[in-house]
Subunit: 424 residues, 2 copies
């Protein structure tokens, strides 16, 4: 697919040829030509961007590697997350889809269009790419895939011959106190996390994967996140969640290979050899009762969180990044209950996003945090932390309304595909 | 409110004082001091931004003026649109809310926090500002208010003594063929359009207005738009909608005062003197059946739209901005039916946004275009154009599922408030 796009693609239509040559005259630089950006009209998102003299390589995050991108990668500004149901029982079709998705993901993350692009070689055929990201740069797009428990076994059935490969770490999450999970916003056989600095690029990516999957998968639910609430870049300004507080101050840094190795990346020795270099994703749609929160006093807000609002300093400290003093916090403070010191040293890598999905019919915004965490093993990661949070003072102001857990396989080698270690 | 914020605001708490002085040491520039950015801890969004050496004036669009900002203003990247129901019958409360909203809007659009900011002077009180935009610049935020027909008269009742002032142009929109309007995504007594280059800033603005309105208004519905689909800046790259086509090529330019005067701004002579300098906003939530569209051939897509996909050139032309040749188009092409030549010269200013609101429970993304148009009179603007579009070939791929019409009053003078000409 990639080869076809960058080498022998020739528009068949006279009109397309005319457009192509016109576009060639528009000022493609040598750099973009080298990058294959001018191989064909509409074949490449960067082609349009390059007319604005943007280097073809700007803001593209490598797709191939030992780990999937989108986990340790510095958190992008926007999210489109989708969970799919597999609607076939044919293993070969699933494998083919994963291969097709991989080719598309490799292209889109590098700022290229899917397949032969938004302008078909043959005008009587639908274009391979839906086109709304034409002219937009890669925008640090990452696509990260994960496999839910139901892909391995559903209603007792081993649909795809991979039941025995289900990792012990890919547990069904227990019911936590206060959970009010909507099944239509939970679960899914396969999940894809699209992160980018431009939401149009993230939405385009999910939409094109859904399109490629027609007949094999169906969108079960999806979630747009308009603003990141965690950073994995320690020296960057910590983003704020919709409670107005800085979030993720003590998050695992994407550059801290020691911590990543200890808490994020699974190894063969963990039990599932095919997951070596992978990680487990837990997603939780957390509705915030922001109207109630907004009527709470500053002092109470700060006591509930365990940090001050403006600076983000732990209670009893003056700077955000000073060490927390748990003894200074109320016993039900959120930071205290979530802290590694309270949870046997557990660390999880958070990549959450704020959402606002219209209103709830009761005069309130349907807003909150779409929590995403990666960890080496949810049994020693999210689950004990969330259990510890059962007495969190914050629970008065939040409710978990959606949930998912997915095994994210290792990164893709050149020529490989998403999930290759699982299906071979 | 603004005075208190920029002059005599002093945190009462010792801790706040300490933070304030520490923040002062963090490197506030002379420019930001002049802008009042350092007047108090948490009182001002720009205070945090200025520590990154951003000029305090960057990317703030003036709030006061003859017309409301957010109409002729160059279209920002992101949208949060909210429609409110008024839940009181007390006219004085409505007027007071409009005054309070005006003060908050004047502050937020200039990059300031609401009232005394995200950190209360008195820690036992809730902060005036919810805080999630602390540290973010103004981001070209505009807030534009409009009044729906039901504010003037609801169920035959003149709730606020303004029934006689309802402009003839503020009609109830007729039913259009194919409409499938959801009442929970339609109408509303008051609408506010928040546009900004940062969605967190737009969401923060709507959320804080909703908060200020507690007990007086209730959110009826709201819509996030992740990407603009129209430009009012003629030399800028035309954005693409979710059909992958450039949209709004022939839109009214925000700089074209002659066209704005003729087609966008209402005058006293139009019938409602209080609307002089105002405009009428029509919003339509248009669901796109993108899955069907994506399986349509390129040729058919281009014939339906009446332009080519890559360049956006009208059928029979080679460049986007060349004059359309309607005779070259199919009689049911979208561009032909919407074109001023087909509609007695009608022009409307479009400011639409793409949306993706999860999935629809049937395996499809709930995605489309949140259409927003401003015009001097919907009776000669949106209504005849939409009537003309009854035979649009595009109708097979779209459905109007939400609708609203609002009279947007003129701009606010210094010391004035939103709707002052209506309520005095």
């Amino acid at each position: 697919m990639t080869d076809a796009k960058t080498t022998d693609a020739q528009p068949n239509e006279a009109e397309s040829r005319e457009r192509l040559s016109r576009r060639r005259m528009l000022g493609f630089s040598g750099a973009s030509l080298l990058a294959g950006a001018a191989a064909g009209a509409g074949l490449d998102r960067m082609a349009a961007a390059s007319t604005e003299n943007e280097p073809a390589t700007v803001a593209a995050i490598p797709f191939h590697g030992a780990n999937q991108a989108g986990i340790a990668t510095p958190v992008q500004d926007r999210l489109h997350f989708a969970a799919f149901d597999v609607i076939t029982d044919d293993r070969a079709k699933v494998v083919q889809l994963l291969k097709d998705w991989t080719a598309a993901a490799a292209a889109m993350t590098q700022g290229h269009a899917v397949g032969e692009g938004a302008v078909s070689k043959v005008a009587v055929a639908p274009p391979d790419d839906t086109g709304e990201a034409l002219g937009l740069p890669a925008s640090r797009l990452t696509l990260t895939i994960g496999f839910g428990p139901t892909l391995f076994e559903k209603d007792g059935k081993d649909r795809f011959g991979i039941k025995a490969k289900r990792p012990a770490a890919l547990v069904d999450l227990p019911h936590f106190p206060g959970d009010k999970l909507d099944p239509d916003r939970s679960g899914g056989d396969i999940a894809v996390q699209a992160c980018a600095d431009d939401p149009q690029v993230a939405v385009h990516a999910i939409r094109n994967l859904a399109r490629i999957g027609f007949g094999v998968v169906s969108v079960r639910w999806s979630q747009l996140g308009f603003g990141k609430t965690s950073s994995t870049t320690p020296d960057a300004q910590t983003p704020r969640n919709l409670m107005g507080f800085k979030d993720g101050t003590e998050n695992i840094a994407g550059t801290d290979t020691a911590l990543l190795g200890k808490h994020v990346w699974a190894t063969a020795a963990d039990g599932a050899a095919w997951m070596a270099g992978g990680s487990y994703l837990v997603a939780r749609r957390i509705r915030m009762h922001i109207e109630t929160w907004d009527r709470t006093s500053l002092r109470e807000q700060e006591e509930i969180i365990g940090r001050d609002k403006l600076e983000g300093a732990p209670i009893g400290r003056t700077k955000e990044r000073e060490k927390v003093i748990l003894a200074k916090m109320k016993p039900d403070a959120h930071v205290l209950l979530a802290h590694p010191q309270t949870n046997k040293g557990v660390r999880i890598l958070r990549r959450g996003y704020s959402f606002t999905d219209g209103s709830d019919g009761l005069g309130r915004l349907d807003a909150g945090l779409f929590f995403i965490a990666f960890q080496r093993d949810p049994r020693t990661g999210f689950i004990p932390v969330q259990t510890s949070l059962a007495t969190d003072a914050l629970n008065e102001y939040i409710q978990h309304v959606g949930s998912g857990i997915y095994a994210c396989p290792p990164g893709v080698k050149q020529g490989g595909y998403w999930g290759e270690t699982l299906f071979t």
